[in-house]
Amino acid sequence: MSERQQADEIKNITNFDRLIHEPSRLAIMAVLWASESADFKYLENTTGLTKGNLSAHLRKLEEAGYLTINKGYRETGAGGNYPLTTCALTKAGRRAFKDYRRQYLAVARQLED
């Protein structure tokens, strides 16, 4: 492999969106990419993160404009209300995840070769 090719490969890896690249946030983005929206509980169960950790990561992604967070309430049968937080990717978030995935697969293919 030429020096130029090696340099290109290193550049591809360093070009990864670091906000998405973090494993917990990557898992969150993957869940939301596969759905129109998901609530906090589903994200918590699927990612295995603690409530505090998940909240922190969601806030970071929201600040970057990658997702929106809607806070509401859901009724329970006993007449009570539980907080219901739902998250959805923005257009920018979907684009960022799609780009990240494409970059990642390209690098993974190169590494396999």
Binding site: A34, S35, E36, A38, K41, Y42, T46, R74, G77, Y104
Partner: protein
């Protein structure tokens, strides 16, 4: 670094979530049953007599509206079942596992395209075979049989894509059963009824089995949640 396969697993798991409890199949089964039934009704003498009576007694607009309402019944019923589905999930099934709103388009485009090609292939094959079956019913069998095979392919391919074995089996069984439509001597109305009811039995049966398997897990999770509270 998180592997690409991990991301794909998470994506597939979320896509699959919508179909795990069997409620989508039940909704689809209700739709197919009513689709078959309403289309059968249109070809029945009692409906023709009623429609002519309606035309005679009321204006043209009322008669056309009545016909449209009849055809809209399957869609309205499917929407009604969907509301029930959301309520059941919100209250019981997804209370502990969380809520997900699926993407509007779940079936990958290539699967839809191939299923349409399967439909045309079936129609083409039927037209080629028609000289061998010179009876008035064959063409309806070809039409609905091809539709059934195409739908079976779509379900099986979706099941394969989402790693849902249940959908693969329902698709294959329904598709194979639909092939029988090619040779059954049924009129247009009767053939669409048989197709609709056949698929409804498969889909609702499969959905109920899945729901039965999911329910105990949901009850356990919900009662565990209540104990924690």
């Amino acid at each position: 670094m998180v592997a690409g396969q991990d991301i794909d697993k998470i994506i597939k798991k979320t896509q699959r979530y919508e179909f795990l409890d069997g409620l989508r199949e039940i909704q689809l089964g209700v739709y197919m049953a009513l689709l078959g039934l309403t289309n059968w009704i249109i070809f029945q003498p009692f409906w023709v007599r009623f429609y002519l009576w309606l035309l005679d007694r009321t204006d043209r607009f009322t008669s056309i509206l009545t016909a449209i309402l009849l055809l809209a019944i399957p869609v309205l019923a499917a929407l009604g079942v969907q509301q029930v589905m959301y309520a059941v999930r919100k209250r019981w099934l997804w209370q502990e596992s969380g809520m997900v709103k699926p993407l509007r388009v779940v079936v990958p485009r290539w699967i839809t395209i191939v299923s349409v090609l399967v439909l045309f292939a079936g129609l083409g094959l039927g037209l080629l075979l028609q000289p061998l079956f010179p009876n008035q019913f064959f063409i309806w069998g070809v039409l609905w049989g091809s539709t059934g095979v195409s739908f079976g392919y779509l379900l099986a391919a979706l099941g394969q894509h989402l790693q849902l074995k249940r959908y693969v089996w329902v698709g294959i069984l329904g598709g194979v059963g639909s092939v029988a439509m090619f040779v059954l001597p049924l009129s247009l109305g009767n053939s669409v009824l048989v197709l609709g009811l056949g698929w409804a039995v498969l889909l609702i049966g499969s959905g109920l089995l899945a729901l039965r398997q999911t329910w105990p897990q949901v009850r356990a999770a919900n009662s565990e949640g209540e104990r924690d509270v």
